[in-house]
Amino acid sequence: MADIKNSADLSPPSEIIGPLAWLRSNLFASPLNSILTLIGLYIVYALFIPVIDWAFVSADWLGNNKDACSLKGACWVFVIQRLDFFIYGFYPDAEYWRVNIIFVLLALLIMPQMVEKAPYKRFSGWFFLTGFPIIAGVLLLGGILGLEPVSTDKWGGLLLTLVISFVGIIAALPLGVLLALGRRSEMPAIRVICTAFIELWRGVPLISVLFMASVMLPLFLPDGANFNKLLRALIGIVMFQSAYMAEVIRGGLQAIPKGQYEAAASLGLGYWKSMGLIILPQALKLVIPGIVNTFIALFKDTTLVLTIGLFDLLQTVNSAIVDPNWPQVSTEGFVFAGFVFWIFCFSMSRYSIALERKLDTGHKR
């Protein structure tokens, strides 16, 4: 028997694996594809390289006034110098620590929600929705426990943006649940009222709701009852968002099979018990991604409060760029604000996608 000598395995030809093959199949698969790749490369060359050069390579980072800016690239000195204003608005310098505590607490409470099987997840979730708003309210407003009172017209910047979106979501969620239940109720009067409410707010632009809240709300109330501007804006936003939230939750309620309702009824549960114990836990879980998406929309919509004279993040930037002590810095300001909003929205949308994957059990091929 002849010896069979094993020769070393030949590696696959380079047309099948390796960087060359990847290039061929992904970038130059056909003549049309090659042309598209060239167009894409041109876009990268014409758009990305100047932007990177402007934002990083020729940018100025250090310094404390306009002389530090060479004007060849972005003048980030401006953003760094005005960062306090962009974050805290007109909040008194001496009280920044109160806002910082809230930011830290917020981060600490959100983090466990991102991690699977984090300890005390349920507890921190409930605390986030109930205890945290109270603590934050006390710290921000002051006036008790020996804290200096700070009126709401001093709030601004990122702080105000976060306050509005947080209050918006916390208040809109329960209202949205009630409206969604009402819209699916068997009582015609309740159903009509809820449907009319939802369709009314969903049909008009938020800006007109804010106008209405700031111009007409004082007219609606008896003499003497007057809220401050922030509260009026919040009422408008909560009304508006709760209508959108209701539609999201209604989607979840409709997705629950009828058998669940019947099972709850045959156990002898009343309406509220069957909703609270059987239907809503399932329905809400189904629409968590939708709720997060609504929240992203709300977070972006908070910028609209600048039209009624509140200083949110965008408005602080908007008012800082006209400062004559600085050269033309509007682009830097808006890029900074856009980047902050982008970070928040993008991470929330990633979170929502991840949740969707986790909750999607089955039917995936």
Binding site: L36, T37, A189, I193, V204, P205, F211, M216, P222, C345
Partner: protein
């Protein structure tokens, strides 16, 4: 031995009135209606007393008073002497024009980007993803203000305009284009176009019937395009080219003549388009992905070419998924055009709910009219959506 249970003396269960479902539901509904009625009554009452105190008369009489303020851009004749009612229509038309342009542009760009994201080409797909993720996650208002303040206002003045030839100029006062002047004979060109439109339609029906009868296919698209472009062009030259262009001319400080598109319009339209296109792209992508792969395979095994597979099998089914969210994006775009207020583009909210309201103080009437406009828009769009859904929804056994 069938016996009725109730007849054996077991009482028919009749709950006490406070546990009777019907009575309970009536009770709650009456309470809800009464509460709501009281709410409305007290709001109405408070508003009346408050307005009386501020000396505002209610009613729509103010609409015929002279407005006395100018508007930056108007599609219909308007100056300070026109009435407040006229400002309503000026604003409404400005909203309509920016929304219509935005819807067309956003649809085109959105479809291109959405398809690009599904491309086999790695680079193109990544670029489309980057576009979507950037524009979707930055507030629209910020984008509008960015284009207006950081881009258009930093453009050079009229003397240093960016230009294409002697016809198109771009500077910090907006875009200047040649203004078309249509001669009297242009009506013939328009009627030729309408006739060719009808002709193309008849040809399409005839071609379809012939195909069903004989199986022969005609190039419907090319023939109709040729008809619709060819006939008006021939007529245009026959009647002696009744179209002249008035070019914008640089005077001492600014341009005169020509058509001017104000920068506010450009930045609003541009931001609305970019923002909505990112959402439309995602809708298009998910619509195409929603078509089952088996459908493509089935079409292939029937022997359809690639382009026919796409046209006859994939796209009609994808549209079924795409159209409903697409219409709600159109509605969003229309509502979002009200952000014009922030940069001073004279749309309905900015002109009517802003300037007119400030001048007259008729808050209730003006807010109600403005909201009614948007509500009508959204009502029509949702009616269309329901109609469309019914038309295209699968008829199952």
């Amino acid at each position: 031995m069938s016996e009725d249970f109730t007849s054996r003396g077991v009482p028919a269960s009749k709950p006490p009135p406070w546990n009777d479902p019907f009575i309970r539901s009536m009770f709650f509904q009456v309470i809800a209606v009464l509460l709501l009625g009281y709410c409305f009554y007290s709001i109405f009452d408070n508003t009346l007393t408050n307005m009386e105190k501020r000396g505002i008369t209610t009613g729509f009489a103010f609409l015929s008073e002279e407005a006395g303020f100018g508007i930056l851009m108007s599609l219909i004749e308007y100056d300070e002497t026109y009435s407040y009612g006229r400002t309503f229509f000026v604003g409404l038309l400005n909203t309509a024009v920016v929304a219509a342009c935005g819807i067309i542009l956003a649809t085109v760009i959105g479809f291109i980007i959405g398809i690009a994201r599904l491309s086999n080409n790695w680079l193109i797909a990544k670029l489309a993803t980057i576009y979507i993720e950037i524009f979707r996650n930055i507030p629209l208002l910020l984008q509008i203000i960015f284009w207006q303040i950081a881009v258009l206002q930093t453009l050079p003045g009229p003397r240093q305009s960016l230009r294409i030839g002697d016809a198109f100029f771009l500077n910090n006062r907006g875009v200047f284009l040649p203004d078309p002047n249509f001669g009297k004979e242009f009506i013939f060109v328009i009627s030729a176009f309408l006739i060719s439109l009808i002709g193309a339609y008849i040809f399409k029906i005839w071609a379809k019937r012939t195909q069903e009868k004989t199986g022969r296919q005609y190039p419907v698209v090319y023939v109709s395009l040729g008809l619709m472009i060819g006939l008006p062009t021939i007529i245009f030259f026959l009647v002696g080219m009744p179209l002249t262009w008035e070019y914008a001319k640089l005077e001492r400080f600014s341009f005169s003549g020509g058509a001017n598109i104000i920068p506010e319009f450009i930045s609003l339209l541009w931001a609305l388009t970019m923002y909505t296109a990112a959402f439309i792209a995602e809708i298009v992508r998910s619509g195409i992905l929603a078509v089952d792969h088996g459908q493509t395979e089935a079409a292939r095994s029937l022997g359809l070419r690639n382009s026919l597979t796409l046209r006859l099998v994939v796209i009609p089914q994808a549209l079924r998924v795409i159209i409903p969210p697409l219409t709600s994006q159109y509605l969003n775009l229309t509502k979002n055009s009200s952000l014009a207020t922030a940069i001073g583009y004279p749309d309905l909210v900015s002109v009517f709910m802003g300037t007119t309201l400030n001048q007259t103080g008729q808050a209730v009437e003006i807010v109600a009219m403005t909201m009614a406009v948007y509500l009508t828009f959204s009502l029509f769009i949702s009616m269309f959506m329901n109609w469309y859904n019914k038309r295209v929804s699968l008829v199952e056994r």
